[in-house]
Symmetry: C2
Subunit: 216 residues, 2 copies
DNA sequence: AACATCGTGGAGGTCAAGATCGGCGTGCAG
DNA sequence: CTGCACGCCGATCTTGACCTCCACGATGTT
């Protein structure tokens, strides 16, 4: 009994049935999906190209016929995920003119992002390839871009200096991403919207007093 | 002769003079210092044991006579850094009974931690070995432990439920660590204490308004 | 002063993982 | 029926990094 039974190779993952033939374009998206699952579950370094190929139900050469290397595959997925969160953040900020609603909407964007089934946020917030400059640049860009958009609002409405606005905005983004990640790890003790509302309230109380309030 | 001149370690090319002989205990701490520099500069995976040995001015076998393997070496440094930030956080919270001062003191702890010359915070906040459960557990413990201590204060003073207190505390920790990291990356446009005060003000305005505020 | 001891150094083994080359089966035009 | 093209797979190569074996020199003792 060398093979044949579709048993789990290593973990609780079930590889796809082997032998199906499909056009290139379709195969490519399937490979991307499989790669995302493996990278999310194991991280970049622990993920082997064999694992991704097995997960997709194909052999390794097929994978290399679609992507030149492991890093390219990872960067493709990373770019998609980075663009998603940045675009959603932009839309949330543009969705209203009330700053309190802006805070809530942006917070919900982060919580939805983290709660999404695919878990792609791990590539961005928990990447284990930060030594690679291409990865570092993209990961940092998520925080800096989101923060920059928020900082524009802060600066416009408060008149604070650029550096202070940026730092405040970065801290709001940090609050959102870290709390969302640990909310998810907590296992759903609190409903997603309740958690987002709670933290949005914290953030809003923090920044709403800034234009006119002096310290103490 | 064994001059401990730890000058700027920007890129890691700074091998020590070779040939110096020293007692075990001293050699061990020197190896730890060298390993920290290399891990901080290059990350876990990119760092080779040869690099660490060369950095310390010794050869590879002596490194293995002091530490059984690469992971143990990394975990030793990680533990030290994790304990440091957790203990400092605890002391900051115990240093006063005024919650506003608690927030400021805790924020300054994070900024000092990130600004410390050795850059050990990168092992905790930017580790590239999160796939290893031992590492993941320690890294997460920093946030959860710090948050737990803060959550105790929040729960006591506000009467909020446990889960809400924990989530608020986690978000404050996230705000601190992310903003501190990006403040450092910003290159010192703002003075360290000013940045910490700014974010502490944001955090305090956020949480001070919650139910049952005990103002003296 | 000579010898034994111990720490040090360079060169090498092992193995995992990324990247690749000749064969196989299927569908279609002629 | 037959040749062709295309997609796919088993088996292999190579690189790089972690981890040990034989010489050498310094130190303490008689």
């Amino acid at each position: 009994m060398t093979a044949g039974s579709t048993d789990t190779t290593s973990d609780g993952v079930n590889p796809r049935p082997r032998g199906g033939r499909m056009p290139r374009r379709e195969r490519r998206v399937q490979l991307l999906e499989s790669a995302l699952e493996v990278f999310v579950a194991q991280g970049y370094h622990a993920a082997a190209m064999d694992d991704i190929a097995d997960r997709a139900g194909v052999s390794k050469p097929v994978l290399y016929q679609h992507f030149p290397g492991k890093l390219d595959l990872y960067l493709a997925l990373l770019d998609t995920s980075c663009d998603l969160i940045i675009d959603n953040c932009r839309e949330a900020l543009a969705s209203t003119n009330d700053n309190r609603d802006r805070v809530t909407a942006t917070m919900k964007v982060f919580y939805s992002y983290v709660a999404s089934e695919e878990g792609a946020f791990r590539l961005v917030f928990e990447s284990d390839l930060t030594s690679e400059p291409d990865v570092r640049e993209r990961v940092d860009r998520v925080t800096t871009e989101c923060a920059s958009m928020i900082a524009d609002v802060i600066r416009t409405d408060t008149g604070l200096p650029d550096e202070a606005s940026e730092l405040l905005a970065v801290s709001l983004v940090g609050m959102a991403q870290v709390s969302a990640r640990f909310w998810l790890a907590g296992g759903g003790q609190i409903a997603q919207d309740d958690a987002a509302d709670l933290i949005a309230g914290l953030a809003w109380r923090g920044i709403r007093g800034y234009p006119m309030t002096d310290d103490h």
